[in-house]
């Protein structure tokens, strides 16, 4: 087999894996959009906040220590304990639920029935707020996140492929774990939204706030629910990306990688997020490999994802799996 082809296969596989990581972030967006028609600009920052909180809890950091020290002249930093990863994840999930409740209580409930752009704007405010809060709470230094996920080349795949092709493929263990977790998340979320009464209510709220209110669906409850779910998904994404690149501000920028995925897959579709992620992942890696790096001098990933999404959208304006836009007069 020609070398280029083997490389292309390796790139494709890695692209698929990268796509799953994008999809994890996109999933959080989809959940909230589906349930409330809100384009949650703060999703990336939520992932950052979740990851920071997780690390903070694990390391026994004193929250707001910086502020406390500045005001009271104290010298607090650590509680001096160390909490196992699993327990810390549970605690952080609790914090994310609390955050969801706050979002509902202080933001969403005051904005029932407002047009999408206004809700979008509220999430911008939220993003600013959370960014400031996470820094103030945990400090803006980079933190190391290690919840025990395996990382590095998967030797088994390396060996197997080496025996077949004479060239061992590189697949990152972390990506494999991410793929499994993403698959689990997607299946359970889909089942939830399709087959449970809360799931149905979520979709109803997305269609028409007022009507949902009128049949007795408590928007407050649904919103706490979806924001909690989105918070949990953000935590998962935060763990994956944080393990990869450390926990610090830039983590929130992964949202930018999720946007083209979202648009390509459709804002409202959970499977769309996954399929979109895979297409973008593979597309941008292959493009960089075959065209970008050799002919354009590389670093094409950022815009290529968007251009790819754009091309798809021209043919399917609601995204691959998005709900058909009902246009009637």
């Amino acid at each position: 087999m020609p070398e280029q082809l083997i490389f292309a296969m390796e790139v494709t596989l890695n692209g698929l894996m990268a796509g799953v990581l994008y999809a994890l972030v996109a999933l959080g967006f989809v959940l909230i959009f589906k349930a409330s028609g809100i384009f949650n600009f703060a999703q990336g920052v939520m992932a950052l906040f979740a990851a920071m909180t997780l690390v903070g809890i694990m390391d026994g950091q004193v929250p707001f220590s910086h502020l406390i020290n500045a005001i009271f002249g104290t010298d607090l930093h650590h509680f001096g304990w160390h909490i196992p990863a699993l327990l810390a994840i549970v605690l952080t999930t609790g914090v994310m639920v609390g955050l969801a409740w706050c979002v509902q209580q202080f933001v969403m409930r005051h904005l029932v029935n407002q047009p999408p752009i206004i809700l979008f704007m509220a999430t911008i405010g939220l993003a600013y707020f959370l960014e400031g809060l996470s820094d103030l709470m945990w400090g803006s230094e980079i933190k190391n996140l290690d919840v025990g996920l395996p990382q590095g080349i998967n030797l088994w795949i390396d060996e197997v492929t080496f025996n077949i092709f004479g060239y061992g493929f590189f697949i990152d263990n972390l990506d494999i774990v991410a793929t499994i977790i993403a698959a689990l998340l997607v299946v359970s979320l889909m089942a939830f939204s399709q087959y449970t009464k809360e799931g149905r209510a979520m979709r109803a709220v997305a269609d028409d706030h007022q009507a949902a209110l009128s049949v007795g669906i408590s928007l407050n409850f649904i919103w706490v629910l979806v924001w909690s779910l989105a918070g949990f998904v953000a935590l998962v994404a935060g763990i994956m990306w944080g393990t990869k690149s450390g926990v610090q501000f830039s983590l929130s920028l992964i949202a930018l990688k999720a946007l083209p995925v979202l648009m390509l897959g459709g804002f409202t579709s959970i499977p769309g997020a996954i399929v979109g992620g895979l297409i973008i992942g593979v597309g941008e890696q292959l493009f960089e490999f075959a065209i970008g790096a050799p002919y354009f001098g590389g670093a094409t990933q950022n815009w290529f994802a968007y251009v790819l999404a754009l091309i798809f959208l021209v043919f399917r304006p609601q995204g691959l799996f998005g709900e058909k836009i009902i246009e009637r007069v």
């Binding site: 911008i124 405010g125 707020f129 803006s140 950022n302 995204g319």
Partner: protein
């Protein structure tokens, strides 16, 4: 008390269609203009000009531009940073290629170049709507930044990859380059700001503005009653990019003087300008100014208060700044979802009725 329509009769449709139909508003506008042109230049210092007034004026131009596209025509754009970069680089190329031509013309031409690019990236808007359209504009954002970074021709093959504005003069007074006076740069930007404001106002109160708003409010119905969506959307993209391009040119040439594209015209800039119009008020020229003022001034004020008055460490102040700006945005929304402009209008309506509650 003075704020009344009553007794302020219009005798012609021309009077009725003017920019400030209420006399009090009109006089106030003239007063602001007089102060801006006749008083401020004599008292403005480096700090006020470079840290507050220039960014305010330039962002206001960009915000007006984006507001035309997003607020008036309903097309969400996240490509403002990229389009500003087009304006900046066009201006740089023009300034260095034709040094004898007036910078004034260069800035306007930069707007023209940006308008052309804007139309190109506006084409997908015919099929793609709403948040999905953001993808087209984001593609523009990332692609343009990449392009300006990639192709050395754009930065005249300089070793640093940065572009720096050479010195140019208007009426013998330097407005770009190192030896500028605060008042000169301020006036230069003010003229553009006023010009774009008036043009935007003219366009939005007339035929074109109505076809934009029709498309925004209900595009299908608009098409059925006779609005050509292609034309409406593309003109919106063109006009909007024109303004944004001018803002980009001024941002580079007059305000910063040197620019590295990814850092200055990145996606953050797109979001910043979008936030301005959303906070100021979509579909309102006044809102564009208000939003620009809000997001330029608020951080500065918070910083001055936090660091200089209260003496907090700078990083804590910076974190609080984010928290406060975020909370204020949310608070504004809860109180008045349609931005500062609407808040202002409601206050005005109450004033008009005053002292009666309804």
């Amino acid at each position: 008390m003075f704020y009344r329509e009553a007794g302020d009769f219009k005798t012609s449709y021309i009077d009725d269609g003017q920019t400030f139909p209420i006399r009090f508003d009109r006089y106030r506008f003239y007063a602001v203009l007089a102060v801006a042109f006749l008083v401020v230049p004599f008292i403005v210092g480096d700090y006020t000009a470079n840290a507050i007034l220039l960014p305010f004026l330039i962002y206001a131009i960009a915000a007006i531009g984006l507001n035309i596209l997003t607020g008036y025509c309903g097309q969400v754009s996240l490509g403002t940073g990229g389009f500003m970069a087009v304006g900046a680089y066009a201006c740089y190329k023009l300034m260095t290629a034709f040094p004898e031509v007036s910078i004034f013309i260069h800035v306007i031409l930069s707007g023209g170049v940006t308008a052309a690019v804007g139309v190109l990236f506006g084409l997908p808007s015919l099929r793609i709507k709403g948040f999905y359209l953001a993808v087209a504009t984001l593609a523009a954002q990332f692609f343009l930044v990449w392009l300006f970074n990639r192709v050395p021709w754009f930065y005249n093959y300089s070793a640093s990859g940065q572009i720096s504005a050479p010195e140019r003069e208007v009426f013998g007074v330097a407005v770009t380059g190192p030896h500028t006076e605060a008042w000169a740069t301020y006036l230069f930007c003010l003229v553009f700001c006023l010009g774009t404001g008036l043009v935007a106002r003219n366009l939005t109160r007339g035929t074109l503005g109505r076809s934009w708003m029709a498309i925004r409010d209900m595009d299908i119905a608009a098409e059925i009653i006779g609005v050509n969506p292609l034309r409406a959307k593309l003109t919106a993209f063109a006009v909007s990019s024109f303004f944004v391009g001018i803002a980009g040119a001024l941002f580079f040439a007059v305000y910063l003087g040197a620019v590295e594209v990814g850092e200055v015209f990145g996606i953050q800039k797109s979001f910043l300008v979008l936030f301005m119009i959303i906070i100021g008020g979509l579909g309102s020229i006044f809102g564009s100014f208000a939003g620009a003022a809000f997001l330029v001034l608020l951080p500065v004020i918070l910083k001055l208060v936090g660091v200089n008055l209260l003496g907090f460490p700078t990083d804590i102040v910076a974190h609080f700044q984010l928290i406060i700006v975020g909370s204020l945005i949310i608070l504004f929304l809860v109180l008045e979802p349609h931005g500062i402009a609407r808040l202002w209008n409601v206050t005005r309506e109450k004033l008009r009725l005053w002292p009666f509650p309804h």
